[in-house]
Structure formats: structure tokens, C-alpha cells
């Protein structure tokens, strides 16, 4: 019979985000003036100032049983690290309550709790005492830790001379070997090399088989699948799904699909426009001029945008940027590049524009579009990032046919070569 080792009820954590303009609230001068003005508020002084409340985690209830390996997924900022921080008592919850049966070891970020000036050996003992172990207990585990981390030659070197991979190796080895009943591992293993990552997964599995509990945050679905049976999905600080790891991952990917942008964009014109310009429509069009999500590498395509100018403006330009999957701009083009519109005043009204992209310009792959209407150096009237998504496909295997393999790079334009041959 396994029983719960973690029980959380409605855990919530509120942060105050201070806005840049009010960082001076942190200055002692202001605290001191407040202290004299309202001495009874001294304890609140640190929290006072212009700040916005923000719930990083809200109403999270969960029970984790002994021996479970729980995978935690969610996008950046979903509250995964915050949950682990609450469970490891690094910070206190704003509301709710959790009960833990067992000692917790956490591996939150690179170099957890290491002191840079101390050697690996000294740090192992330091961490042991943090986990509440005596020196004798740590000594028993010492060789296994060093062996697992593979840092024998550096064990008497200050850890500040370690590479970031070595740092994580040692940190993980310490956390996993000091026999905590609950092991919390945040996305840290990615720094280690492949061999070590595999070793860590194996170790976590072993830890769980030994009846201890592991909570594992990762963005690597493959390792989550191989390690965890159960998973939870956090989104915007809320626990939105829990179940088997497989279905958790499915729910996680669906989260993205639900809001993936398409290859067309449509917006009703405003009744009483408050902005100087508004984007009404945008789309990717194939060589035939029809909207399309995929375009052919060897055919031209175009990016169409329609915007309404509500007041006349001069020096206005429309810009289209094509970006790769991580958002790096690959090419940026404007409607004055190849027209006589430069510097001309544009009256109010609706503008339909099309940027033609020649064939064989960009490599096959997924791209996104940013669209702007701007007065350079002065004003951005329309600014739409990641507005459209589309894919360039190599239907006729044009590139790979030639070399037989897919090529790296951004640009697919065939270049002129000169080949001279001489018989040595």
C-alpha cells in the first residue's frame, strides 16, 4: 500500500512585480521617510510602493504517492519552478497548505547550494548537512557520489573552476545519493552531456523504485515519457490537467495547437477608430494568388496585407519580416524598396499591398511573418509579430535531389560557380 508523501491543498503564490519606474521605492531613503511618516508600517515597508500583484501559482491541489515519479510540464513561466520552490520551502506560499512526509532534496538550478570557493569534497559535506545528515552518513555515500558524478580528478578543486556540466553532475549526484525521501528536479540536466542525462534518468528511476518520490520538471518530452508514469500540466499558474504522462503531454501539445496562428488574418475595421492605422487582413498567397499555408520552394509566393489609414500621413512605410521558427528575422522588406512611394504623403483610406517573394530564396521549413506599418524613427502605427505562419516545402525535392541530403542554412538561391579543371 503506498501512501501519500506530498499533499497540497490550494497552494498559491503571489509575487509583486515592481515596475521599472518605481524601482526607487526600494531605496532606503524612501523606506526611511516612510518609517518616520508611518512608523507602524515598518514591516510593510519592504512590500510597499507601486507594485502589481501577480499570481505565479493559484489553487494547486495535488497528492503524490510514495514511489511515484511525477512529470511536470507547462510552458515558460507557467509556475513549475515556483511549485518546486514552495515544496522545497525555499519560499512560503501566499495561501494554501502542503504536507510533506519526508526530507526534500531539490535541484532547482545549476549549482544548487554550492559554495564556489570550496572544493567539491567540502561542498558534498556542506550539502549533506543541509539535508540534515551527519558527516559520518555523508562519508558512507561519498565514494558513490564522486563516482557517479565522474569528477574524481577535480574533487579537491574549488567548484568555481568546474565547467557548468561538471557542476550539474556533482549537484545531481549529491541530491540523488543523499537519500532524500522526496527528490525535486527542475530542468537542469539539459546542461549535462547526453551520456550523463541518460545516467540521471536511470538514477531517478532507481530512486523511485527504491520507494522514494521524484518530481521532475522538463521540457524534454522524450525523457518525461521514459521516466514518468504520471504527469501534471500547469498553465498560467493553474493545474489544468493531471493524469498519465502520455495524456498530459498530449494535453500540453494541444495547448499550443489551440492557439497556433494560421496563414490568414482577418480583423473587422473599428467603428470609431482610435488608432491612426489598423491592420485589417493579411495572408500568404501561393503562386496562383490563393491563400495557402504551404508554398512551393521553386515557385514565387506573396505576403498580402490590408490596412486602413485613418489619418493622412507622410513618410509612412509598410514592412514585412519573414522569421524562422525561433523568431530570428531572415529577411525584411518594405513597400518603398522597389517603388516610387518613398517620402510621399499617403491619404487616409484602405491600402492593399503585396510583397512578392521570388522562388528559391529561402530554405524549406517553417516561417512566421511580422507585419508593421511605421513612420521610421518616429512611430509604429501597426506592429504585429508572429502574425502568420507558413511553410516552404520542397515538393519537387529540388535541393535534395541535387545533393541527396537536406542542407543547412537560410537561403536556397542557386549561385553561379566557376569550375576550372587542370590535370595536375
Amino acid at each position: 500500500m503506498s501512501h501519500p508523501v506530498i499533499e497540497a491543498h490550494n497552494l498559491g503564490k503571489r509575487y509583486r512585480i515592481r515596475h521599472q519606474s518605481s524601482t526607487h521605492d526600494r531605496k532606503l531613503r524612501h523606506a526611511v521617510t516612510r518609517l518616520f511618516a508611518q512608523p507602524w508600517k515598518i514591516f510593510a515597508a519592504a512590500q510597499a510602493g507601486k507594485a502589481e500583484d501577480f499570481w505565479a501559482l493559484r489553487e494547486v491541489s495535488l497528492t503524490v504517492n510514495e514511489g511515484a515519479v511525477l512529470g511536470i510540464v507547462g510552458r515558460n513561466g507557467a509556475g513549475k519552478t515556483t511549485l518546486l520552490k514552495l515544496l522545497s520551502r525555499i519560499t512560503r506560499p501566499t495561501e494554501g497548505r502542503a504536507l510533506l512526509w519526508g526530507r526534500v532534496a531539490s535541484l532547482l538550478e545549476v549549482g544548487t547550494g554550492f559554495h564556489p570557493e570550496l572544493t567539491g569534497r567540502e561542498n558534498i559535506f556542506l550539502n549533506g548537512s543541509i539535508l540534515g545528515m551527519t558527516r559520518a552518513e555523508v562519508r558512507k555515500k561519498f565514494d558513490a557520489i564522486v563516482d557517479f558524478a565522474g569528477v574524481e580528478n577535480f574533487i579537491d578543486t574549488p567548484v568555481k573552476r568546474y565547467s557548468s556540466g561538471m557542476y550539474v553532475r556533482l549537484a545531481f549526484a549529491v541530491a540523488a545519493h543523499l537519500e532524500p525521501e522526496i527528490l525535486l528536479v527542475d530542468e537542469v540536466l539539459a546542461v549535462g552531456d547526453l551520456g550523463f542525462q541518460r545516467k540521471c534518468l536511470g538514477k531517478m528511476d532507481e530512486v523511485a523504485k527504491g520507494g522514494r518520490t521524484v518530481l521532475f520538471v522538463s521540457h524534454n518530452m522524450a525523457s518525461l515519457r521514459s521516466l514518468c508514469q504520471e504527469g501534471i500540466l500547469l498553465n498560467d499558474g493553474q493545474l489544468v490537467y493531471s493524469g498519465s504522462m502520455e495524456s498530459t503531454i498530449e494535453n500540453y501539445t494541444n495547448l499550443y495547437a489551440a492557439e497556433a496562428v494560421g496563414h490568414t488574418y482577418q480583423q473587422q475595421p473599428a467603428e470609431n477608430p482610435e488608432t491612426k492605422a489598423e491592420l485589417l487582413a493579411a495572408s500568404i498567397c501561393n503562386a496562383a494568388g490563393e491563400p495557402a499555408a504551404t508554398v512551393n520552394l521553386t515557385r514565387p509566393f506573396s505576403v498580402a496585407m490590408t490596412y486602413r489609414l485613418n489619418t493622412a500621413a507622410s513618410h509612412l512605410i509598410a514592412v514585412v519580416e519573414i522569421c524562422d521558427t525561433v523568431g530570428t528575422v531572415v529577411i525584411s522588406t518594405t513597400d518603398i524598396d522597389a517603388s516610387d512611394l518613398h517620402g510621399k504623403a499617403r491619404p487616409a483610406g484602405i491600402y492593399r499591398e503585396k510583397a512578392f517573394i521570388p522562388p528559391l530564396l529561402l530554405m524549406p521549413g517553417a516561417y512566421s511573418i511580422n507585419a508593421y506599418v511605421i513612420i521610421p524613427k518616429r512611430e509604429r502605427l501597426v506592429e504585429q509579430k508572429q502574425l502568420l505562419r507558413f511553410e516552404i516545402v520542397d515538393h519537387d525535392s529540388h535541393l535534395s535531389q541535387i545533393t541527396g541530403v537536406s542542407r543547412p542554412g537560410y537561403i536556397s538561391t542557386p549561385l553561379q560557380w566557376e569550375v576550372n579543371y587542370a590535370k595536375s
Partner: protein, 296 residues
């Protein structure tokens, strides 16, 4: 496995090891937790001692050089220039020994305070990544300086014996005065280390504060000089509010047996201040420590 509040069917019989909740768990629970973490306390102390002497050229010598030079300069300044050396209250004790007896606890206090005021921020990496009772940081930083103190104290005893002064029965009270000095440093350290997390200005203010305090503390002169002076009464009252008055007077009294060194009223007031600073500092630190990891 996810449950609403209703699903606590399979509660294990054992009480939970840790309860995570918005408020702290009370003083008693905190002290027993500190006791459980005593191993960490020693490790941290050993760590800072190691780190302190590891990369310094003269290492342990530093513990001697600083008090020795302070003593020499103050003896010249106050004893020779300001002619405080002819104080009848001093009896036949050479002036430099009187000064040294003041420099000893002063040095302990100021290094302890500096160390503990910076302790939380200096360990930001640990604070933001692992849990341990945060009070350990300023407290252990304070006690670390005891080693320096002992080294300087040994020098003092050698000088004292060399000049033919035998310690008397009053020496047994020295640990008490030492304790007061540490309490004062720790209390102020609690205040400043917690404030330092929010207001890094403390780092700039503290050296200045310590510099001022050495002059308003009876390090280079005897407290009796102040009591016997023509200063207005309220300044004399302010003077004895300084926690270091109790400590330094106590050191002079117990080490050198200077007859009029320990004024009972001044001692009580000053020691009371120490207690006040310590208790308020601890409570303040306790209030602030829960969110150190969020703001550090």
C-alpha cells in the same frame, strides 16, 4: 492522484515532516529546527573560516595585525596627544593595555556585525536554491569571528603577563561580556542583513556607521572620562545607550581590574539596549526571511 480537499482518505499514520503554509510555525518549532540544523551551523562556520584564510597571503596574521595597529594608533592618539593617559581612574595600568582591552571586543563586534550584515546577500545562491533556517546565516557569520578574537586575545594575555599583570578572579566574568558583545552584533546583524536584502545601500552605510561608532564607544578612552566630563547630561545618557559601553567597560573591569571601569547603572542601561536590539532584530529577521528567496 489529484485531489480536492476531500480526498485525504489514505493519510499516513505518521505526522508530516514538514508543513508548508503561509505563516511561520512559532518560536518553539523554530528553535527545535535550528537545533536539528546544528550540523549545518558548524559547517557554515568552518566554511567561512576556511574561505577567509584560504586565499589571503598572511592568513591568520590578519587576526593580529588589525587589532594591534588599531591599538597602537589609538594609544598614540588618545594616550599621547590627547593626554588621556594620565587618567587617575586607570591606576597603574599602562594606557596601551587599556586601549587593547577595548579594541578586543570592539574588533569582535565590528567584524561580526560586518560579516552578519552581509551574510544573507553573500549567500544569495544558497538562499534562492535550498531551504535551511535562514537565521543560521547571520548567526554563524557572527560566531565565525570568535577565532580571530581568540588569536588576538592570546596576544593580549601575553602582553599583559609580560608587563606583570596577573588576571584576577574577575576573569570568570569575561565570557559573559563576550556574550553581550556577540548578542549585540547578532541583533544588529539580524536587522541589517534582512534590510540588506531589500536595500543594498546598507553595504555603503555600514562601514560609515562602524567608523562613527568607534569614536563614540570608549575604545580609545575610559567611560569614566565621559561621566566626569562637562558634557551635558543628555549626551551622557545617549552615551550609555551604546551597547558597546557595557561590553568594553566589562572587558576592562574583568581583564585589568580597572577600579572605576564598570558603572552599574551605565552597564544595566547599555546591556538592556543589547537585549532590545537582539530581540527586535530577531523578530524583524523572522518576519522578513520568508520572502528572501523572492527578492534577493
Amino acid at each position: 492522484m489529484i485531489s480536492g480537499p476531500s480526498s485525504s482518505q489514505a493519510k499516513p499514520d505518521a505526522p508530516p515532516e514538514a508543513v508548508i503554509q503561509p505563516q511561520g510555525s512559532g518560536l518553539w518549532a523554530e528553535f527545535s529546527e535550528l537545533w536539528r540544523y546544528r550540523e549545518l551551523f558548524w559547517t557554515l562556520m568552518a566554511r567561512s573560516i576556511l574561505v577567509r584564510y584560504k586565499q589571503t597571503l598572511v592568513g591568520v596574521l590578519w587576526a593580529l595585525i588589525r587589532p594591534l595597529f588599531t591599538m597602537i594608533i589609538f594609544t598614540l592618539l588618545f594616550g599621547q596627544l590627547a593626554k588621556f593617559g594620565e587618567d587617575p581612574a586607570a591606576g597603574e595600568v599602562p594606557y596601551f593595555l587599556l586601549v587593547f582591552a577595548g579594541v578586543l571586543p570592539w574588533q569582535l563586534f565590528s567584524t561580526s556585525l560586518t560579516g552578519s550584515a552581509g551574510s544573507v546577500v553573500a549567500n544569495a545562491g544558497m538562499v534562492s536554491k535550498i531551504y535551511f533556517p535562514r537565521t543560521i546565516l547571520p548567526a554563524s557569520a557572527c560566531l565565525t569571528t570568535l577565532l580571530d578574537f581568540l588569536i588576538a586575545f592570546a596576544l593580549f594575555i601575553i602582553l599583559m603577563l609580560g608587563f606583570g599583570f596577573m588576571p584576577s578572579w574577575r576573569l570568570v566574568f569575561l565570557p559573559g561580556f563576550l556574550g553581550i558583545a556577540l548578542l549585540a552584533a547578532m541583533g544588529a546583524g539580524f536587522w541589517l542583513s534582512a534590510l540588506n536584502v531589500h536595500y543594498r545601500d546598507i553595504r555603503h552605510i555600514l562601514p560609515f556607521m562602524i567608523q562613527m561608532m568607534i569614536y563614540i564607544s570608549p575604545v580609545g578612552y575610559l567611560s569614566s572620562k565621559v561621566y566626569g566630563s562637562t558634557l551635558p547630561g543628555y549626551l551622557k545618557t545617549l552615551f550609555i545607550l551604546n551597547p558597546m559601553v557595557a561590553v568594553i567597560d566589562g572587558f576592562r573591569w574583568s581583564l585589568l581590574g580597572v577600579p572605576g571601569a564598570l558603572d552599574p547603572i551605565a552597564f544595566a542601561v547599555s546591556a538592556g539596549m543589547v537585549l532590545l536590539i537582539f530581540i527586535s532584530g530577531y523578530l524583524f529577521f523572522r518576519k522578513m526571511m520568508d520572502t528572501f528567496a523572492d527578492v534577493i
